[in-house]
Symmetry: C2
């Protein structure tokens, strides 16, 4: 028997008969049933692929990112199969996976109705239960074109004509066939938990000059409970959507008259933002950051020197022409402005580190279709800072920033987050500055900083910036997707481009290192995140309105006004509802506005000179003198801020 | 004797012989000797003018604005006379008056040297002492051209060729003659106190394509003491120049790399600015203003609707083209953004007034030649607010704003300022909205508001905005020139253009009134003004660095650090000078940095656990326990802020 050697990802190796199928090997090794594909010498393949020579092999389990991708891709095929069996004449086009699911675009004159969608889902169930074998075959390109032409699949023909491979691969399940690279599940019976989530129109090849297609979105999971949990989270995410809550809570608006992607912070949102801004500025000042205030635009030449113009021009606003051929442009980033400030004076090693900070507004040219609420905008204000330091100060500065991030996250109520150390790909000399010594040193500084703080972290090769490694702090959104909110980034590149200097102990001019760091991200992004994370129920210290006084009748208004004034003078953000409405109605309104406490005042409170606080959640506290309540509020804030 | 009737400005009238000279009438009436010209039927004329028919007459005294203008214009002639008598072949061109003085542009190949300037001044003195009679004559234009051509005065020829009057008027003193409308002093002996202040190059007709002329600037005053006082103030103003102090105190910089007119607020300046910003925002919030935060740009269409595009385009930045023919432009004013917020909701009369406020950054296209420090810039942040109210709320709102201005000015240490009620010119229907009823009502509201606050004011017809009357609050700069820092402006026009509405008691939709108001002006302008007003010696509460701790030797550093931490934790802006330098040197540096207090710590302070404060002015306070000093500081701030 002729055999080949298969090296597995755990380092072990096994000899099997040449030409064995991967599923045979799986069976031989009693690999767990959750395997739905494999990686052969690093490339994803079907389990039915034959092993013809010595190779390395990695199992792809159904709940790994790659496995989920296979699962969803196969579910897209399942859906197309169902659609074409139900609606003959409907043409298939493309059907990729997306985050948490997939879509498929069909050529059909009319949109799918809800009844049709239900039928499609039913047919998908039937086809899955039939456990059709999914098989791969290869076909010469010309033959494939001919076949799809006969089937009336003009779009497939057009797609195949546009690709260079020959032969092409096709996947067949029952009587249905599609062009596809794969891999796919071995049989449709593996598809156990899926759902169509929405329908929409979409242009062929994304171009509005082309004909309109019908897009159906779906999701697919390894198990029914996983699907159910996902759908629950989607519902929860909808409730927490910052665009919805932002409107309901009167935090911000977008106006067509002003322009898309340019949020307008309404009074309560602007108040929340100013609480965030003062909070971080005050902490930063106490930590030795020097806040500056720089113009939001500059000469185009500045960005030519920084390199932004060459690498980032497409994301910049159009320049504005002034007299004498001067061109100004809204800034895409704040770093060059801070560099100009650094260069304004001669620095000695004794003055470093210099930490220049700013709530810096920046502009990004985003296509209007990509814009969304506060999270994808055309103008944003970053909690930005640039630390100019000696190489030997990098570790201490990075530690300082990580500790600041920890403090801020605690105050914001973020309990789960993780650190990613984003490194270069050492083989890639094009996307990462080619200077191994620099990278090794810089990466080591950051590793040591993380070690000093004593937090676990994951290394992510290839995720660094062009000019240096960085620490990314990752948070999960409601759907469990990870987002970078804070970063600490080393930069040896801009100091070089701008010829930054300091005078060292030995009297020599040397280059400082720059650390770009963002703690609370942009005001826009952090506000969106805070809204969704807390479902609008901001911590007491952060709530734009903290307290709302409601009286049982108008009889108690005099006393209520005294309470109002006392709270306001003590620095609390308080409102008094003076309307002649029913108590229940007023409490409900305060609840909907997600105000942390309603302060109820009736006759007994007036008589006893007390207040009856009611928590946002519905819990009624026993009536107490106002001063006691204020003490309680103070200690609640202290607890939130970790000062208790 | 044939007589004519002259009506004087006090309403009295007198009959004199037809053909009398005005100076004869002055002599007849024993008018004060400070008269140097007159206004005949409203037009300025020489005292030698003959009175040929019934007329009204007003005396122009030498120290009135019009009198000073005559004086300075005559001094310009005196200077040109001196120059041409000293430097034959030098041609005259133009010589207008400017604020506080005059200049004259001469055609001469080489600039005037300091020695030549001294000679010119001396010759001017001589010519003044000679008390040459200054006489007016008229000459047919052609004859005047011929005369100046013969004299070799090409520029005068060119000027006369360009004017339409015929005959033209000329002024002669001694053997010197110039084309001039006049009026002038009767004789050079009236010119008693003048000085050449500077020389510069200037292009003929202000066009850099033309030949370069030599410009000599001078000033002229009725008396030597007035001149001396003016020159003292100029020196004082130079010392207080915010551009000079701004640099010395490290408050701001301008960078050619970023662009002219775009100031960069350095750490101390940014701190000062943030003190100003938080101060005014906190007060405004407590007064019921709702602060918002809106984008600094908008679609061009928004400014078309507001009318800014038509009337103000030349002062706006160039628009930026986006996808789908969308054009965005940096905003020249904040009002349209606040209007969009107002329109976002339906308003009841019960919700009004709505006071929307913002530290709103705006952009003005200024030619680079016009830019200056923080006072003339291309980007500025206004302490802006727009009050949307019922007509019957105008008075109360205007009163509220005036009282706010009074409070802020007291806190800023502004003691002398005055109110100007800027009204329409009722005859001018082009520069002022044509709606007499509206104007009468609006003007009356503001009058009543000023009366309610009980402050005196001057009415200034013709100084209103296009769309409504306003109250301007005027402050004098160091040279005594009045500037508008704060305004309260009524606007019935934008509510109309944007169709703003509220639902009134009767259920009808009605237009609210808008009040545009600025209290502390732009951050840029107010900072420039504060620097110059206080010569950099900011009040304690406003100083970016309030306290500087200096030790006699390094021995006291431990104790000094304790003092530093205690002061910092108590919220004071304090620095500790840890350098090993001489005490005197460190104190001098604190003094130059205009820090309100140096806190001196020597061995005796360490032993007694006290501090020895030293005021910015040099006064040493007796050593005292730190807590006593903090109490003292608090009461000083309270006194500055009128809270004592």
């Amino acid at each position: 028997m002729e055999s080949v050697r298969v090296t597995l990802s755990d380092g072990k190796s096994v000899e099997i008969r040449r030409g064995s199928r991967i599923y045979e090997l799986a069976s031989l090794l009693s690999v767990d049933g959750g395997i739905i594909a494999a990686k052969l010498n690093g490339s994803p393949v079907d389990l039915s692929r034959a092993i013809d020579e010595d190779c390395s092999l990695e199992w792809v389990s159904i709940d790994s990112p790659e496995g989920l991708d296979v699962l969803r891709h196969s579910t897209a095929h399942l859906m197309a199969h169902a659609v074409q069996s139900l609606f003959p004449g409907t043409q298939v086009t493309i059907g990729p996976t997306i985050q948490d699911g997939f879509y498929y675009d069909f050529k059909r004159e009319t949109p799918f109705t809800p009844e049709e969608i239900a039928k499609i889902e039913q047919r998908m169930e039937d086809l899955a239960r039939a456990n059709l074998k999914v098989t791969r075959e290869e076909m010469p390109k010309a033959q494939a074109i001919e076949m799809f032409r006969r089937m009336g699949e003009d779009y497939k023909v057009s797609i195949i004509e546009g690709i260079t491979e020959d032969p092409v691969s096709l996947y067949r399940q029952g009587d249905w066939i599609d062009l596809c690279r794969g891999p796919h599940v071995p049989s449709t019976g593996k598809l156990k938990a899926f759902k169509i989530t929405s329908v929409a129109g979409a242009y062929w090849r994304g171009d509005e000059k082309n004909e309109m297609l019908q897009r159906i979105y779906g999701t697919s999971w390894p198990t029914k409970p996983a699907l159910k949990e996902y759908l629950r989270l989607v519902e929860e995410a909808k409730k927490r959507d910052h665009r919805k809550l932002g409107q309901e809570l009167g935090l911000f608006m977008i106006s067509d008259a002003i322009g898309p992607g340019l949020p307008i912070w309404l009074p309560k949102g602007a108040l929340l933002r100013s609480i965030l801004e003062r909070y971080i500025v005050d902490i930063e000042r106490s930590l030795g950051y020097q806040h500056v205030n720089t113009p939001q635009l500059a000469r185009v030449d500045l960005y030519k020197r920084s390199g932004h113009w060459d690498h980032f021009k497409d994301n910049m606003y159009p320049p504005m022409a002034f007299e004498n051929k001067e061109e100004l442009v809204l800034r895409p980033m704040n770093c060059p402005h801070h560099i100009i400030i650094y260069k304004h004076e001669l620095h000695s090693y004794r003055n470093l580190p210099i930490r220049l900070a700013e709530l810096g507004t920046m502009y990004r040219y985003e296509r209007s279709g990509a814009l969304s609420g506060l999270s994808r905008v055309r103008a944003m204000t970053l909690n930005d800072a640039h630390i100019f330091c000696l190489p030997e100060q990098i570790q201490a500065e990075a530690v300082g920033v990580i500790r600041l991030i920890q403090r801020v996250y605690r105050d914001f109520g973020f309990k789960e987050y993780w650190y990613r150390l984003s490194l270069r790909n050492p083989k890639d000399k094009i996307n990462f500055v080619d200077n191994d010594a620099m990278w090794d040193t810089a990466e080591e500084y950051l590793r040591q900083a993380l070690a000093e703080v004593g937090v676990p972290y994951k290394e992510a090769p290839g995720e660094a910036a062009y000019y240096g490694p960085k620490i990314d702090v990752q948070l999960n959104d409601v759907l469990g997707h990870s987002e970078t909110l804070s970063t600490v980034q080393l930069d040896f590149y801009l100091p070089e481009r701008f010829e930054l200097e300091y005078v060292d102990k030995d009297g020599q001019y040397k280059r400082p290192v720059m650390i770009h760091r963002g703690v609370i991200s942009t005001m826009e992004r952090m506000t969106a995140f805070l809204i969704e994370h807390h479902a609008g129920n901001f911590p007491l210290w952060l709530a734009p309105v903290q307290l709302k006084i409601v009286t049982v009748t108008e009889q108690q208004l005099d006393y209520a006004r005294e309470v109002f004034t006392e709270l306001k003078d003590a620095g609390w953000r308080v409102e008094l509802d003076e309307r002649n409405e029913k108590l229940g109605y007023k409490i409900r309104e305060a609840q909907l506005a997600k105000i942390p406490y309603a302060i109820v005042i009736g006759d007994s409170e007036v008589q006893a000179q007390t207040v009856a606080p009611r928590r946002r959640g519905g819990e009624n506290l026993a009536p107490m003198p106002l001063n006691d309540f204020i003490e309680r509020l103070k200690s609640e804030v202290a607890q939130e801020r970790g000062e208790a």
